[in-house]
């Protein structure tokens, strides 16, 4: 496994723990379909949360949040519908969250969480 993939995998695991600590129930990880991949699917109350995790070693190439653009958001919306269709959960309200992980390899990784980004 290449270093960047390993970093991403670690970040997603950290993010999942983080979201669980926030009181969410993780129901799916790395769900794939022909249109793309959802990093984390979770339930918070009666809302389905589709979370995108972005992991970086440093801020040299910009903040992880800056890598989530309009196209990415649109795809996450499409993917959330696909996921609901496949699991027959069409009536559920959905929300898109983004979690950033900055893991420089020294000290504790820093996590930031944005809810309902649109």
């Amino acid at each position: 496994m290449r270093a960047k993939d390993l970093l991403g995998r670690n970040g997603e695991a950290l993010a999942a723990d983080f979201l669980e600590n926030q009181g969410m129930r993780i129901v799916d990880r790395n769900w794939r379909c022909p249109d793309g991949e959802i990093d984390i699917v979770a339930i918070e109350g009666d809302i389905l949360v589709v979370a995108e995790v972005k992991t970086r070693k440093s801020l040299d190439y910009g903040h992880p949040f800056e890598a989530v653009g309009a196209a990415k958001l649109a795809r996450l919306h499409r993917l959330s519908l696909s996921w609901c269709r496949e699991h027959d959960l069409a009536a559920l309200r959905t929300r898109i969250d983004v979690v950033s992980v900055i893991d420089s390899g020294v000290g504790e990784p820093q996590l930031e969480h944005l809810r309902g980004v649109g």
């Binding site: 903040h63 949040f65 983004v98 944005l114 809810r115 309902g116 649109g118």
Partner: protein, 513 residues
């Protein structure tokens, strides 16, 4: 975190309006939005501000930044808002302390330096008038901004320095960075621009006299004559004869030039009357002002309180010349464009120069002239009657004779004549001040024939001319105005028969042919 607030100035023409900048940082994906009718240059501020803040050591928040410029309905243009937006955003992120009523006017470089902007003088004037005397500008603009009475101006070179003075954490700031501006000219305090001197003109006694009268009374002037007679030379020497500008006038002129300048910032008030000499291919927009969006001042406004010289006047488009009638009447130009209406002052002294005919040889006996009578008439017909009506002095300039040409160096110089002009101006001001006027050229006909009425014996030649129909009623008034100026130049309290006669000579219709 919360809402940050700072102030800036939006210029519409020469009028400035205080703009309040609000910045809010929202908890969502990174974005930067500027609200409140920004133009393209102002929208690019986002990228400049992000880079400048990053390179100054105080990176902007990685969240959604919304900057709102109030009032939202006022169109805002240009890069002068960069600094005010940055400060509001930094305040919203709690990176700096409360800003208070300070006004920020500067553009940001990507490296975090503060760059000068156009129109700083009128902007600071507006800020002071609106009750915001504390102004922060780019170092290169500080001198110009300080010209405004009552302004407390602070000039900064870099954003880092400014942020430090507003309480930013010095730990990360790039305080050592001191950019060197390549093209900022050294302070040219001792530098006096080279003015052409009247002693360069050989002979032309009549024309020199006419120029002196024009300068003394502020009269508009038309010079006709063959090529090489020295029309342009004479016109260029008119501004040198005019007295220095008083405080308010100097402020107006500097403000216009501050707005019209492309790059250089003013370091002191413009005290000498400006001279504008546009080419005859100029469009109406170039002369009276224009451009896309909000109009910028044209040659007529840049000549405010100075001289607008139109060489080869019949070669101008007729509508360009006629566009000058409004400012000649009101001293102001109001220009409408899509983004709004701008009013610029344009109280200039008009000097027109023209050849006597298209081939230029129809002077003196006109033996070599190849133009038909029709061609000649049509040539002058391009300067419309209503425009010529406002020109007090209409003079024929002949080629200089060999006898005069030999006597170079014996002519009066600009300084001598300017002293007489100044004395005449003072006499006029004494007489006209209570009517709210400054020069004889501004006196309305009603006053000339009312309060300033001359003895019937003095105006007899004029009355006869009027009766015989060789002089129009408007022409009558113009002769009287010139006569008053001649009397002022001669230290007399009122014009006598001689002055009337000379005045008639100065407006011998150059367009008789």
């Amino acid at each position: 975190m919360g809402v940050g607030r700072s102030y800036c100035v939006a210029l519409v023409g020469l009028n400035g309006y205080i703009v309040e900048v609000e910045a809010d940082i929202g908890q969502t994906l990174p974005n930067f939005v500027i609200l409140g009718l920004p133009d393209a240059a102002l929208n690019e501020a986002k990228e400049r501000i992000r880079s400048a803040a990053q390179n100054s050591g105080i990176p902007l928040s990685r969240r959604k930044i919304t900057a709102n410029l109030i009032p939202a309905s006022l169109p805002k243009r240009g890069s002068g808002f960069d600094l005010a937006i940055t400060m509001a955003v930094l305040r919203a992120a709690d990176d700096i302390r409360e800003i208070g009523g300070t006004v920020f006017i500067a553009e940001l470089g990507l490296d975090g330096r503060l760059r000068p902007v156009r129109g700083i003088l009128p902007a600071v004037m507006a800020a002071v008038q609106a009750g915001y005397p504390d102004v922060v500008v780019a170092d290169a603009n500080a001198k110009e901004a300080s010209l405004v009475p009552g302004a407390k101006v602070r000039g900064y070179k870099t954003l880092a320095r400014l942020a430090y003075d507003f309480g930013a954490d010095p730990k990360d700031l790039a305080l050592d960075y001191s950019p060197v501006d390549a093209d900022v000219p050294a302070d040219d305090a001792g530098h006096v621009p080279l003015m052409p001197d009247l002693c360069d003109v050989s002979g032309q006694g009549e024309a020199r006299r006419a120029l002196e009268v024009a300068a003394a009374g502020g009269h508009h002037m038309l010079l006709t004559g063959p090529p090489g007679a020295g029309k342009t030379m004479l016109a260029e020497r008119l501004p040198g004869l005019l007295p220095d500008l008083a405080d308010t006038a100097a402020m107006e002129v500097t403000a216009i030039h501050s707005l019209a300048a492309v790059q250089s910032a003013a370091v002191r008030l413009i005290r000498r009357p400006p001279f504008e000499s546009p080419h005859h291919s100029a469009t109406a927009a170039a002369i009276i002002g224009g451009g896309s969006g909000l109009p910028r001042p044209g040659a007529a406004s840049r000549a405010h309180r100075g001289v607008l010289f139109l060489d080869e006047a019949p070669e101008y488009e007729r509508r360009v010349l006629d566009a000058l009638r409004q400012p000649l009447e009101s001293g102001e130009l109001v220009i409408h464009r899509s983004a709004g209406t701008a009013a610029y002052p344009a109280r200039f002294q008009l000097v027109l120069a023209a050849n006597p005919c298209p081939c230029g040889k129809a002077s003196g006996k006109g033996m070599d002239c190849t133009c038909t009578a029709m061609m000649r008439r049509r040539y002058f017909g391009r300067i419309s009657g209503p425009l010529l009506d406002r020109v007090d002095i209409q003079l024929q300039v002949e080629r200089v004779s060999l006898a005069d040409f030999g006597h170079a160096g014996q002519e009066e110089d600009t300084g001598t004549v300017a002293a007489r002009v100044l004395a005449a101006r003072e006499r006029q001001l004494e007489r006209l001040m209570e009517m709210g006027l400054e020069t004889n050229s501004q006196v309305p006909g009603r006053t000339l024939r009312g309060e300033l009425r001359l003895a019937p014996g003095t105006t007899r030649i004029l009355d006869t001319a009027l009766e015989r129909g060789t002089l129009t009623a408007r022409g009558y008034d113009r002769v009287l105005r010139l006569a008053w100026t001649l009397a002022d130049l001669g230290h007399r309290d009122a014009p006598d028969i001689d002055h009337i006669g000379q005045a008639l000579g100065l407006r011998q219709a150059a367009t008789a042919t």
